[in-house]
Each structure stands twice: as C-alpha cells, then as structure tokens.
C-alpha cells in the first residue's frame, strides 16, 4: 500500500509540473503570436478589399462587410483603418481615441520592415499590424487593445488548463494505479516463487517435509472436527544408497524423479505427497481407513514393480512402506510420523513391502529408531570403539593376530550388541564409514604394537554392502599406506552371504583386494548356502569355522565331523583354518588333535580394548615361556 501511494504522489507531482510548464508555454505562445495573427488577418482583408474594390457595387455593403469581419476577428474596441499618403480614407472603431493622433503615433512606432508590434496610444497598449493593398497606394492598419486580448487569452487558457488538468489528473491516477498494481503483482509472483521454493523439493518439485507437516496438522484439525480417519504412509526405497554409490548421483536423482512421478500417478487427487529427503517419501491419504490405505499401497507397489530404465541401464528399486492411521495409532503429527517410520522399518526388516504400525512392537522399534539416530551421530563423531580378540597359533601358542570388533557403548542404553548396530548401519548406509573408521583405528594400533615389538596381523569384518562399492580397494589401500602396515598383515573377513548377494561385482572387488596382497578370510564358514565354487575362484587364504559348530563339537558327533571335514577341506585347498568360539579346555584339546591352525575364543580372551590387550599380550608371553620351560624340563 505504501508503494501505491508513493507511485501515486510521484505521478501527481510530475503531472502538476508538466501542467504548469504547459500553461506557461501556451500563454507566451498565445500573446506573442497575436501580432502574427493580426497580420494574417490583415493580409486576408487586403485580398478581400482588393476584390471588392475592383468589383462595381455598393460601397456601403463593402464597409459593412469589413465591419463584420473586424468584430468577428477582434474585439469591439479594435480599430481598422485604411490610409493613403498619411490620410485616413476609412476608419472603424476608435471610439474614445483622438483620430488625428492615431497616424502620427503609428508613424513613430513602425518602420518599413515591421509588419506588426505594440504601441502606446493615449496611455493604452495596442497591438498593431499593417498590410499594403496590392496597388501599393493604400495601407490597411489594425489596432487592438492589448488588455482586451489578454482577458480573452487568460479566459481561454484558464478553461483549457482546467479541463486538460482534470483529464491529465484522471489519467495520472489510473496510470499510477495500473503501474502499482503491476509492480505489486510482480512482487506477489516473486513471493509465491520464493514460498514455493521454501516449501518444495528442488529435485522432484514435490512438497518438502515442512509443507507435509503443515498439511498433516491441517488434516489433523479437519479430521478431529469431522471424526474421519486418515492414513500417513512413509515410503523408503530399497537399495537406493547402493544405486547412488555405484551408478552415481545423477542416476540416483533421475530415479528419484521417476519414483515421484510414479507415486503421483498412484494416488488420488485429494492425497498429498512429499519428499522428506534422501530416498524417503511420504503420502497423506485423507478420509482413508486401513483398507483404503492398503489399496493405495498396493497401487504404489505395483507401480514400483517395473524396472527403471535410464540411459540403457535398467535397475530395480522396490519400496518399503510404513502405514500409520489416525485416530487408531495416534492423534498428533509427531506420533503419526514416528509410527509410520517404525512401520516402515518393520516392512524393511521383514522385506514385506509394507507394514501397518503394530503397537506390540512399539517399544522395540522406538528404541530402534532412537538408536538409528544416535548411531549416525556416533559414527560421525567417531564414538564407536574398537576391541580386539587375539588369535593363537596352535603349534607355537603364539599370538599371530587379532580380530577387530566394533563396540558401541550407548550413553543411555548401555552396551549395544554389534549384531544390532551393524544391521542398522547397513540399513542406514553408515556401514562404509564405520568400516573405514574401524580399519583405520586397527591399523593405527597395529603399527603402535609393531613399535612395541609385537608383530600382529589384523582381521577386519567386511559387510556385504561394502563389497558392492567399487571404490573400496582404493580406499583401503590409502589407509594402509597412511599407517605403513604390511599389506599381508591385513586380513578381510567376509561371510558366505556377502558372496551370494552379487558374486560378479563382489568377486571383482575381492580379486582386486587379493591382487593388492590383502588376505581374504571366509567368516562363519559352514553356515552359508553357497557352493564351494568360490573357494576355487576367489583368492581365499583363510577359513573361519562358524562358532556354532565349535561350541557343541565335544557333545555332538555331527558337529565334530563337520569341524573335522572343514579343517581337512581347508588344508586340502591350501587354506589356513581358524576355529573361533573356543570356551573351554575340552574343545581346545579336541581342536588341537584335529590339527586346526589358529584358535580364538573366550577361553583365551574376550575382545579387549587396545591398552588391555597389550597387558594381556605380555601376560600371555610369560605363560607361554613358562610352559615351554616346563615342557623342555
């Protein structure tokens, strides 16, 4: 509104200024040109008179004609006279003037070159103009009182100025209004654009979390009044991180765009959809109960079935969907969002495509959600600690290396088992960073022990997810270089499951790692489902027998047979065989008999932090030397 007034006043100001200048110019023009006008009039009159004089006729009539013309053109006070040789032949007007004074007065005022001008006759200002008749004997002279003319000019000018002033003012007001409305409309558009940007996702153009929350709260209020149910869906793409990492971010972005258009096609007009960030979407289904939302979910899952084909690369990405219902599950926006999130993770875990929020799993899942959030922080702040479990050589009883294990001491929830947080890290994509952190810490400790006189190998567990990442060998190499550790001392443990996932890709990466000189170990050997083919094809150096066989091997004949077979198989293939999970002397003795290469378990030591491990190493050395002395004695 302020802008509107500013424009209005500025346009009005310019208008008044223009009007004043226009008036002044018009006035000067009118006054200065009066002499010219009189001259033109006289020239016209001379033509008229010349014609009349040459024609035979009534001289009275001719005079009347002149008189009419004079009055029509000028005022009644004007004087028209014709002179010849300083003698007045004809005169009209000139009431109140001494006729004898007119000619001498005029003579002094005009020269031959001037045709018009101003003179003072008896104290009155007159315009004068002169014109000669064609025969050159007669001169036609016109006198007009300047005062009369001025009155006429000012009255005409006043009228014109007033009326044109009104018109210009009227136009100015409208111009300023149109101008200001145009400007304000442009500003509104800009504002709308900015607002749109703030409330929408750049990539997909879908509403963002802020707008969704707003809509959710609005829908909550509406539904509270109308007592109608609604559903909130949270959608997360499976394997998206993997796609992004392996095929690149532009590819991932394109997938997100396609997903958003597929989602838009799967929902009704009144439903709203939002991208919450990353590969997470949310759908709000007003006036929808469980059945309705399941229908919608089925449509969405159906739409996600077709592979995404981008630049001749075809890839699939299924979605996991969590459903939370109002008012069944919750009556506030935060709770519904949280529960939909819980349901989504349940769906992801069960690989069921979708899950409706289940109250009975609540405590577990809310804890899980909290852990997931905290894990992200913990990994970023490097709060995951590394523990080491020693591996002992069967023949010499010397410690040959340590297995590196990640430990997380949660500030509130206490110790979190690796099974729990590693799976979470895999799901949230934190696993890579976590693995690299653990590796870095292990190599740092390894080089420290080396300086203290302990040459130990280091084993690290590699997740399935890491084996999909083509840049992994490069990264591992750079860390090894940094700590100046012998490559052959680093062993990477992978599970059989990891190989089943995508053998061609994983095989390529493992080959690369093997070529770099790293040792590869198959962890939990005997529990997977894959064939023995990979043992032949991959550069595997070590087999680690799954602890479930070791724990019961003294009581179960079949377990004993399996352990025996694996050891033999490993030796036949030229692999070192490690038995882990040794908890008592009996198991140790049987394994010694079976000629296993390396042993690991609580019987020797539980996983220890680096400083305590060092103390343990010194203690162990003492014990070994004592037993050697005893045996030699």
């Amino acid at each position: 509104m302020r802008l509107r007034f500013q424009i209005l006043f500025s346009v009005l100001g310019i208008t008044f200024l223009a009007q004043a200048v226009f008036g002044l110019l018009a006035y000067r023009e009118l006054t200065e040109s009066r002499g010219d006008q009189l001259t033109i009039f006289l020239q016209y009159l001379t033509r008229e008179i010349a014609e009349r004089l040459t024609l035979p006729g009534n001289p009275d009539k001719a005079e009347r004609h002149l008189e009419e013309l004079r009055k029509k053109f000028s005022t009644a006070q004007s004087v028209l006279l014709i002179q010849k040789d300083d003698r007045i032949v004809y005169i009209a007007g000139a009431e109140g003037l001494n006729r004898a004074d007119i000619l001498p007065g005029l003579k002094s005022a005009y020269s031959d070159s001037d045709k018009h001008g101003m003179i003072d006759l008896e104290g009155i200002q007159f315009y004068w103009a002169v014109s000669q008749l064609p025969n050159n004997e007669y001169e036609l002279i016109m006198l007009e009182p300047a005062g009369d003319n001025e009155d006429r000019i000012t009255s005409a000018l006043r009228m014109r100025l007033v009326s044109s002033g009104f018109v210009i003012l009227w136009m100015a007001v409208w111009v300023s209004l149109i101008l200001s409305s145009k400007i304000s409309r442009q500003l509104d558009e800009k504002n709308d654009q900015l607002e749109h940007l703030a409330l929408h996702d750049n990539l997909t153009g879908l509403p963002n979390r802020r707008l969704l929350t707003d809509r959710l709260e609005q829908l909550l209020r509406q539904s509270q009044r109308s007592k109608e149910p609604f559903a909130l869906l949270l959608i997360d793409l499976d394997r998206f991180k993997e796609i992004n990492d392996t095929l690149g971010h532009p590819f991932g972005d394109e997938i997100l765009k396609r997903v958003s258009s597929r989602l838009l096609k799967s929902i009704r007009e009144e439903d709203s959809i939002a991208r919450l960030g990353g590969d997470e979407f949310a759908v709000l289904l007003p006036q929808t109960d469980l059945q309705g939302s399941e229908l919608c979910v089925n449509r969405i899952m159906h739409s996600m079935n077709a592979p995404f084909r981008i630049n001749d690369v075809s890839t699939e990405s299924k979605a996991s969907i969590g459903i939370a219902l109002y008012p069944e599950h919750g009556e506030s926006a935060d709770v519904l969002m949280q529960y939909a999130d819980v349901a989504m993770y349940q769906a992801k875990k069960a690989q069921s495509g979708y899950a409706v929020y289940d109250n009975s799993q609540n405590t577990y899942s809310v804890r899980r959600l909290q852990l997931m959030n905290d894990l992200r922080d913990a990994v970023e702040k490097n709060e995951i600690h590394v523990h080491y479990q020693p591996m002992i050589d069967n023949a010499t009883q010397q410690v040959t290396g340590v297995e590196t294990l990640a430990r997380w001491q949660h500030p509130v929830l206490g110790n979190i088992t690796p099974d729990e947080f590693i799976t979470m890290a895999e799901q949230t994509g934190q696993i890579r960073l976590l693995t690299m952190q653990v590796l870095e810490q292990a190599l740092k400790d390894c080089s420290a022990w080396e300086k203290l006189g302990y040459h130990l190998g280091v084993s690290i567990n590699l997740s399935t997810y890491c084996l999909q990442d083509l840049s992994l060998p490069e990264e591992i190499n750079s860390i090894i270089q940094r700590y100046d550790v012998d490559v052959a001392d680093v062993e990477l443990e992978i599970t059989e499951g990891a190989l089943m996932h995508d053998l061609s890709r994983a095989g390529k990466i493992l080959d690369q790692l093997g070529n770099m000189g790293l040792q590869l170990a198959i962890d939990d050997f005997g529990t997977g489902f894959s064939s023995l083919n990979y043992l032949k094809n991959l550069p595997v150096a070590t087999l680690k027998i799954d602890k479930s066989f070791i724990l019961d091997m003294c009581d179960s004949e079949s377990d004993n047979a399996i352990v025996k077979t694996i050891i033999e198989l490993g030796h036949n293939l030229g692999c070192r065989v490690v038995a882990e999970g040794i908890e008592n002397q009996r198991t140790l003795d049987s394994l010694k008999l079976l000629n296993v290469d390396t042993m690991q378990g609580f019987f020797y030591s539980k996983p220890l932090p680096a400083d305590r491990l060092f103390a343990w190493l010194i203690e162990h050395d003492k014990q070994v030397s004592v037993s050697e002395e005893i045996s030699s004695a």
Binding site: S155, A156, M159, R160, S163, S164, V167, W170, W174, L177, I178, S180, S181, R185
Partner: protein, 72 residues
Amino acid sequence: MTKNMGRIDQVLRLGISIVLIYVGFVDQELINDHLTSMIAGIIGIVNLLSALIGICPLYSITGINTCHKEGK
C-alpha cells in the same frame, strides 16, 4: 467479467456522468471551448456506460473492487 463496482460507486458515477454529458453536449456555452466540452462529453458517456453495467475495465486491470468494501 464480474461486477466490480459497488452501489455507492455506481450512484456517484451516474451523477458525474450526467453533469459531464450536460456540459459536453447539451449546454456547450457553459464551457466556452469546443474541444474541452467534447472531451467532457465523451468521458461522461464512457463513465455512464461503465456505471450502468457495473464494471469498470480499469478496476479489472488494477484489481480494485468496490463491491467488497460494502461487505457484499
């Protein structure tokens, strides 16, 4: 186009139009200037038409609506 002129606006315009048309076409002596009276008359006719249909084109351009102010 929808109406954008309120009742008071219409009545005012009607009055102004009648005056303008009177000085423009009926009694030209009032303004002793031909051009001025013609302009007044034409503005009067346009204003009268817009008052009768209740739509002002300039209102539509600028987004003014005098209907609202009367709580219609």
